[in-house]
Amino acid sequence: MSDTHAQSVAFVRDTEIPPSPPPARETGAIKWVRENLFSGPMNSILTIRGLLIAFWLLSGLIPWVVNGTWTGNDIRECREILQGSGGGCFAVVAERWPQLLFGFQYPDYLRWRPSLAFVLLFLAVPPMLFIMFLPRWTLALTAVYPFLAYWLIWGGTILTPIFIALAVLFGYFTFAKIEKRGFVTGLLAGIVVAAAIIWVGGLVAGEFSRFGRLEAVESRAMGGFMLNLILGIVCVSLSIPFGILLALGRQSRLPIVKGFCVVFIEFVRGVPLITLLFVANVVLAYFLPPNANFDLILRVIIMITMFSSAYIAEVIRGGLAALPKGQYEAGDSLGLDYAQSMRLIILPQAMKISIPGIVNVAVGLFKDTTLVSVISMFDLVGMIRGPILSSTDWAGVYWELWAAACILFFTVCYGISQYSQWLERQLRTDHH
């Protein structure tokens, strides 16, 4: 190289260097193993140790799963069948499966209704999650689903969910009409209209309670994994819009709006969820008129939603703060108004940045729904701790039941996490 330089300082390239493939890397499994597992004495020791630990774990786990029994009506039968073979007594999961899913109070001849609602969930959710591949009208399925699911799970006259749907619809239209005159005015008008429709609806539904009637099931009868799913899905879907509003409110120039949002967020974040749940369970009753029929599940939903929307608001605030100021200015300079530039420019980008954080909160929230077991609601954890483990039939069968609970929760949470990673890849708009 140095003599090239010495010969000719002036240099003119007359041929282009053709692009060539990178040097072929040595490949093969043995090479990989040597590099990654046995690259030195220290790593070799660690690898062997790791293998031993894995072997030890599996030698306990595999016989437990393989030798386990799925039949038997109580723990004594289980022990007879197993004869000390070290297998698990999975009979408890098989025998109590409906209770794990639906709780012990949901009438067994009506279990088809929540099951149907669960199946329909797989029609209602994809339009929301995969809207980029589906026609827009499929979103109508998502919109109808909550009301249909409510009717299926709780029963009663179909008029109730219909009026709630109408209230949401007309409330929204009122808001959209009046919003130009001011966001707060629009919001209040929308709420008033919705409340009026619900009030009228309550009277009408009371009058025609036989119309489109399914046998009613009380809220206290909800239980099992169904209760976790209901709370999780409802609270996550409610807390995202509330979180967005709180995050925007916290950035607002209006001192009252900003003050309210800051106080709300800071207060809720400073309080353990479990105290809020106790408040929902006990204290709220003091503030309500006697005999007021304020459903316990509804109270719990309000509390969990409040709690997680404060967290989601902070996550989204992080996303908003990450956007360069130029994005706001570009929107302004094109003449977009506040609502337009938020909806079309700022939020899509801020939400994209916030996906990992929102999913984190959503997964945490879903698992936190098991806390309702401490206010004597029989969700999956409440069922296991209460009616199942304290029954004389199955007292002492811990591992199998908790493993089942773990698997149920893990399936859902892992699914959410995989979806969010896929969504992040989908929304990448730089170099592809």
Binding site: A330, S333, L334, D337, L427, T429, H432
Partner: protein
């Protein structure tokens, strides 16, 4: 379809007033950034504003479309007074296009969507028509083939030309440029300047904050020199560059032209 008002005598300046700024003052806290600014811009005029950094030149043009608020004096754009009335602000913003130093394209939207967003939502133009207009202007800035890419996939010069096209899609009567070439590699400055020159030739009223003195010589009717929040000197480009009067202007010119 007449996309722009192509004036046969394109470089001519009419005596219609496009922007009138009277006795305008602005403070950042207690810092007096703009002091007694008086500036009248005729329709079709092309003004280059230069000056050292921190002299308030960007702040001045950002006041014109209310990205910055001024505290004293009046600004009238196209007959609409700039007040705290949101309606007037929105009206002015939809008449005045702006290009930024860092382009500020919307990274989550394609080039075409960047260009059609404001016409569709602000002007309520039907989508198809907005797309046709967008393609017309993208062709004009010579990047129609990138319409379905995202801003992150384009070079800086291409992004800035898209930003110009995006502003033009709103059919603005005035264009503001805030250091449009300062963030570009030297190789890409020319393509952006060429687009701006083309725009000037079509009679667009333009205010450019820039240090491209060649551009100022070629297209400006007037060069304004600012320092410490004041307009120090303004003149036709020829006289401005050859015969600057104020000491501060002379120093500035000797520094930027001296190498």
């Amino acid at each position: 379809m007449a996309m722009t008002d192509t004036n046969p005598n394109a470089m001519a300046v009419s005596d219609e007033v496009a922007i009138e700024i009277k006795n305008m003052n602005k403070w950042y806290g207690s810092f007096h950034v703009l002091r007694d600014i008086d500036l009248t811009v005729q329709r079709g005029e092309r003004i280059v504003i230069c000056g050292p950094s921190g002299s308030g030149k960007s702040t001045l043009i950002r006041c014109i479309n209310a990205l910055e608020e001024h505290q004293q004096g009046s600004i009238v754009v196209d007959g609409t007074p700039l007040s705290s009335d949101l309606k007037n602000i929105d009206k002015i913003r939809s008449e005045v296009g702006m290009c930024f130093q860092h382009f500020n394209l919307f990274p989550h939207l394609t080039i075409l969507e960047n260009c059609t967003l404001a016409p569709i939502w602000v002007r309520k133009t039907p989508k198809k028509e907005a797309e046709e207009t967008a393609m017309y202007f993208l062709e004009k800035v010579k990047i129609p083939d990138q319409a379905n890419k995202y801003p992150g996939q384009l070079s800086g010069g291409q992004q800035q030309r898209v930003a110009i096209a995006r502003s033009l899609c709103m059919k603005p009567r005035i264009m503001l440029f805030d250091e449009p070439t300062s963030a570009l590699d030297p190789e890409m400055i020319k393509e952006v300047l060429d687009t701006m020159i083309q725009l000037a030739e079509e009679g667009m009223t333009m205010l450019c904050v820039t240090h491209e003195m060649g551009f100022a010589r070629q297209v400006a009717n007037r060069v304004i020199f600012m320092d410490a929040g004041q307009i120090v000197e303004q003149n036709e480009p020829e006289s401005f560059f050859l015969n600057p009067q104020n000491e501060r202007t002379k120093l500035f010119l000797s520094q930027i032209l001296g190498h």
